[in-house]
Amino acid sequence: MAAFIIRRTLGAVIVLAVVSFLTFCIFIVIPGGDPAERMAGKNATDENIANIRETWGFDQPFYVQYAKMMQNVFSGDLISYTTQQDVIAEIKRGLPATLSLAIGAAIIWLFFGVLVGVISAVTAGRWSDRGITILALIGISMPVFWLGILARYYLGPENAGIFPDGQYVPLTENPVDWFYHMILPWFVLAVLFIGFYGRVLRSNILDSINEDYVRTARAKGLNPRRVLIKHVLRNSMIPIVTLFALDFAAVIGGGAILTETVFDLQGVGQYAARSVRTLDLPPIMAVTLLGAFFIVFFNAIVDFLYAYLDPRIRPS
């Protein structure tokens, strides 16, 4: 148990270190644009540029720059190249919106995904199943941002007037408004996952129904509901749970960018998107590390969860 935790933590640290290094390399090596020039602006003199270079340490070898940046990340002293703002503070400001979006959408997609999957599997072949399958397929085929744009426009103040026109209202400020503003982004983000999870679960359930132990359960005379829940679902849900953990991590780690941008929620994702367009390395580094951290963390949780859910995997 302790060994597992130590091993995973070590592994996580290594992965994060490599991720940060890779990100750094990508931005220093590839663009070939000079950050000092960019920061100095259009009418800079050579002296300006040289000054900036020295102040910011752009003249140092890249591993020194890397070390300095990492130091800044952990000391909370990270400054954006373009806006000169404190990156960590900006991230903190955007985090509530991103977390609200991710957690809310996750709950919705898990609930409806399972519901849809079970109904579809139990009524396999009939119209309810076919209908759900068609809807699910359409759901996973729509670009999330396109759905978001259309939803915001057609359900927003301009037309149906059911929902507000995007933007984020902090939970602490006004819970009702917060909820009201989040519903549309939640569902838009969830649609894709509901479709996907519904289909995966349906497929798992139909597979499980053919398993030998389900046949045994029926042969024992158990009633169909018990067979479904305790035997079929218990086993079909295992992949769903692990998928869920990984998808949730991916959403926090950047998957929400599109939804945030479309609904103007000013979350971490939107901040990242802005920074990327201006090739502003510090925020990119910070957000990437945050995202990678969540992914690595949830990966470890998934492994742990798997051992709990499937006794065959436990070390005995």
């Binding site: 030998d212 132990y213 499937d310």
Partner: protein, 342 residues
């Protein structure tokens, strides 16, 4: 006179598939008395498992069609409602399957899976009682340390132990009939004998009847009273153990017997195997279904023989046109593998 528990009359099972209608079982009839062991023997595709599973309604589905009667203590199981059938399953008729590893749910403890079956049919039993009974059952099937084993998971048992646990699960509610579908196929030869012995012993202890399904005649040689040989969904021969082993009438049975190494016969160079493959159940051959593979087929075989008593001893039925005397002469030659398919 032992109590007649089961009477199967003209059972027919068909499955509609995208390739055509599969005639899995065609006109199977037999009876089963208390304390009796019926061995059903045949290759893959012979219909033996479908017959057994149909009795418990496990083959019911949109694609399945049934004809005939399965009469259990006066009630027809084929026509029975699903709810009523649930009270029979695992309670009055129990079934164990071939692979104990996949037949048990890997995520639940063995004790829980036994208790589940108990409480499904004894609603007044509480967790404590069902667990205690579980321990008792594990002990009865010969599992050492049942008090701790009852909390183990299936993957923590060895193959033989797992099958014993499955038997314990099946016998939990003292069923009248135990159906064992290839219970030893997935196990080592040495364990096979133990499991068969166990079934025999428990049959007496629990005063049940047993239907033992296998492709291996050697397995039923020990404990079967009546042996029914199936091929392509039909019964091709049925008789007492003695009749089948000492006076087999159907060339398919000869093939099965010939493929068992036996100490009471001269040693053959190779084990005799039946040539060819089992027929497609969708496009069955015309006439006798064994004809394409039978070394002794002749023109009359293009007409399907009826299952009749052709020998002197009653109760020994077969489906073969060959005259009995000629048969007995050819038989020895076939079993020793001297004749090949024409």
């Amino acid at each position: 006179m032992a109590e007649r528990l089961l009477e199967v009359k003209g059972l027919k099972v068909e499955f509609a598939t995208e390739d055509g209608v599969v005639n899995a079982v065609d006109g199977v009839s037999f009876t089963l008395d208390r304390g009796q062991v019926l061995g059903i023997v045949g290759e893959s595709g012979s219909g033996k498992s479908v017959t057994a599973m149909t009795m418990l309604g496990l083959t019911r589905g949109v694609n399945a069609r049934f004809e005939g009667e399965v009469n259990y203590k006066g009630r027809d199981l084929i026509g029975m409602s699903e709810d009523e059938l649930q009270t029979v399953r695992g309670n009055e008729i129990a079934m164990i399957f071939q692979d104990p590893m996949t037949a048990m749910n890997p995520v639940y403890r063995v004790g829980m899976q036994i208790a589940e079956g108990l409480r499904a049919h004894n609603s007044r039993m509480n967790k404590h009682q069902s667990r205690a009974r579980g321990v008792e059952l594990l002990r009865a099937v010969g599992i050492p340390n049942p008090e701790s084993r009852v909390d183990d998971y299936p993957h923590q048992f060895s193959g033989g132990m797992r099958q014993r646990a499955m038997i314990a699960m099946a016998l939990a509610n003292n069923p009248d009939i135990l159906i064992a579908d290839e219970p030893t196929t997935a196990l080592d030869v040495t364990i096979q004998a133990q499991i068969i012995e166990l079934i025999d012993r428990l049959k007496d202890e629990f005063n049940s009847a047993v239907i033992l399904i296998t492709h291996d005649l050697g397995v039923v040689a020990e404990i079967a009273d009546v042996i029914m040989v199936m091929y392509a969904g039909r019964v091709v021969e049925v008789g007492s153990k003695r009749q089948i082993f000492y006076d087999p009438q159907h060339p398919y049975t000869w093939g099965l017997l010939g493929s068992i190494p036996r100490l009471d016969r001269p040693k053959a160079d190779r084990l005799h195997s039946i040539e060819g493959v089992p027929p497609s159940l969708i496009n069955l051959p015309q006439g006798c279904k064994f004809r394409p593979r039978c070394p002794h087929a002749f023109e009359k075989c293009w007409e399907e023989p009826a299952l009749e008593n052709r020998v002197e001893e009653p109760g020994h039925l077969d489906r073969c046109w060959l005259p009995v005397e000629a048969k007995r002469n050819i038989r020895e030659a076939t079993i020793s593998g001297e004749t090949r398919a024409a």
